[in-house]
Symmetry: C2
Subunit: 349 residues, 2 copies
């Protein structure tokens, strides 16, 4: 057990990216026990210097050998990097916490939001997947309702920040907004999806496309929310529908969520009571004082915020909620670090 | 019938406001037959000069006598102005087309979207109400589905532009966005609701409050969508739920809409066919070529644009749609002028 007090050898793959940076900030802020830190990236970013707890680290190009002696490898450098290097890390004894979509729906890979299904990590075979950002905050907020009342249906429309599309998208919103205010012509190059044919302005606009379209007319982001929610909540019969929209703000996703619960005769106060004090959830819901969460009010915070709880006016078991969380923290970095903490807690390293 | 060829005496009340300006632009663009034009406002804006068809008009302070000989009075100066002056205009023989919420739910006042319930204008007793902007575009898009398949349920989440809150809100978004980009502190003063206690930043944010909260936890905007939809569609049994969100763009509202229809075994192609070519509706829906409407793409256009038509994956009769329209045109000015055109068409002046 010496390791637990001294700390672990942690590798961060994609250390220079938006989520990688937040992972390092979170590891530092939450004081995760680290004995050795290895920062990895593609060859493009190798050589960059990064500060962690007052020490300067040089980012190295990831190779299979980079994972020798690594105990926890946090991956956030795109699906292809995870596909290439996660098996190499596992082969060398590391547990991989993967923030990409590469392994999420693999039946041998637990998909984990600790407030919802922490114990699933016990079934890991070396890789644990971190869910999609918009999924994480929704299931974290709905788990207390599933537990207390049963959950049969979810219809969600999202309001998602550009940082979910990476640092280039953040820069595009910033520059494009300034161009718009200056009355200059807009030249979109990144959003909605970098590698797609068409790009549309995000500044002072709304784009109903996140990730690529599937055969059934849904985007991959929408299908992620639908499929991941059922897997994390252990609810294959749960009805889930999603419409995902990219919006001109930098951080935090918001979600307008309609749910149907199994229990009849439930009041708004019952729902609020179930949410209030649930792990990782903060109720911010007082219409008479204009209290509700917004993307800006959630920035930099680890929790999932819920407001605007209302009873549906036409059904006996339907409710509407407004769910907001920092997409880079609970939606990515913080949830990954929480999984690492769970591995320590269950002595799985 | 001499009047019809020569034109009508039209008054615009609130001529200097955001919607008033668009009404004048629309009257000019659609070449509505005007013989005499009277521009009215509060005392604050009286004396301003406005150009119409190359002629300069001076805005006058509205008084009861302003409406002598007026045949059509287009009101868009706030509910209290309509309450005060609409009866005076009617008393003097004018037909009032009121763009405020003052009379919309009055059972003696037709609430009209010409593509949906044009004939209701025949029941007018002097006042015809123009619905709320977010309602108009939704019912215009859903009417073809109601006609073809029957409609039992609507759940809508909105993405609404700041111009719906007036010119001060537009200016606030512009200035606040620049302040944000400059790294300056934000000092919200207008949104979400000018006369409310608390104001929150709209720049790079999302505010789940449009208009004031009601006893049941819904905002007035949400209740407008719910109640007006049932009235316009002549469907008191229709289930309608709404979540209304203000977003940082200037013009056009977007809506993520879930509908349940009565007819079973309906396909996406059936829905698209019903929408395609419906009056005032344009289908922009080709995911494989990234074709869908956005707020920016709808600016300045009279039509209601529909895209992202998908079949719900869990129900046999549910569909998801994305509906976008210019909130100042079809959502306000153009719908009002359309009502005026209907009055001419039915010889009701």
């Amino acid at each position: 057990m010496g390791n637990q007090t001294k700390g672990y050898h942690v590798a961060v793959v994609g250390a220079t990216g938006a989520v990688g940076q937040k992972m390092l900030e979170t590891l530092e802020k939450k004081n995760f026990p680290i004995e050795q830190l290895t920062l990895l990236s593609s060859s493009r970013s190798a050589g960059e210097k990064i500060n962690f707890k007052g020490e300067t680290f040089t980012v190295e190009e990831a190779t299979p050998e980079s994972f020798e002696n690594v105990q926890i490898a946090l991956f956030s450098a795109g699906g292809s990097v995870s596909k290439k290097f996660a098996p190499e890390a596992v082969k060398r004894g590391a547990v991989v916490i993967d923030n990409t979509s590469a392994y999420r729906m693999d039946e041998n890979v637990p998909l984990v939001v600790p407030e919802v299904n922490e114990e699933d990590i016990k079934n890991n075979k070396g890789i644990i997947a971190n869910p999609n950002c918009s999924t994480i905050q929704m299931v974290a907020a709905l788990k207390p309702l599933q537990d207390a009342f049963g959950l049969s249906r979810i219809i969600v429309s999202t309001y998602q920040a550009v940082s979910g599309a990476g640092t280039a998208a953040v820069e595009e919103l910033r520059e494009q907004s300034q161009d718009f205010l200056n009355g200059e012509e807009l030249t979109p190059e990144i959003l909605p999806v970098k590698n797609e044919t068409h790009h549309y302005p995000i500044a002072f606009n709304a784009l109903p496309q996140i990730d690529v379209f599937q055969e059934n007319g849904y985007t991959f982001e929408e299908m992620k929310m639908i499929n991941e929610t059922k897997k994390i909540m252990h609810a294959p019969e749960l009805s889930v529908a999603a419409t995902c929209v990219r919006l001109p703000f930098f951080t935090s996703h918001a979600e307008s969520v309609y749910v149907e619960i199994d229990q009849e005769n439930t009041s708004v106060a019952d729902i609020q009571r179930a949410l209030n004090g649930a792990a990782g959830v903060v109720l911010e819901d007082d219409p008479s004082n204009q209290v509700y969460p917004t993307p800006l009010s959630a920035v930099g915070k680890s929790d999932v915020f819920v407001g605007r709880v209302r009873k549906d006016l036409d059904t006996t078991n339907g409710f509407h909620l407004w769910i907001v969380s920092d997409n880079l923290l609970k939606g990515a970095a913080w949830n990954s670090v929480q999984i690492a903490e769970s591995l320590v807690k269950y002595n799985l390293l």
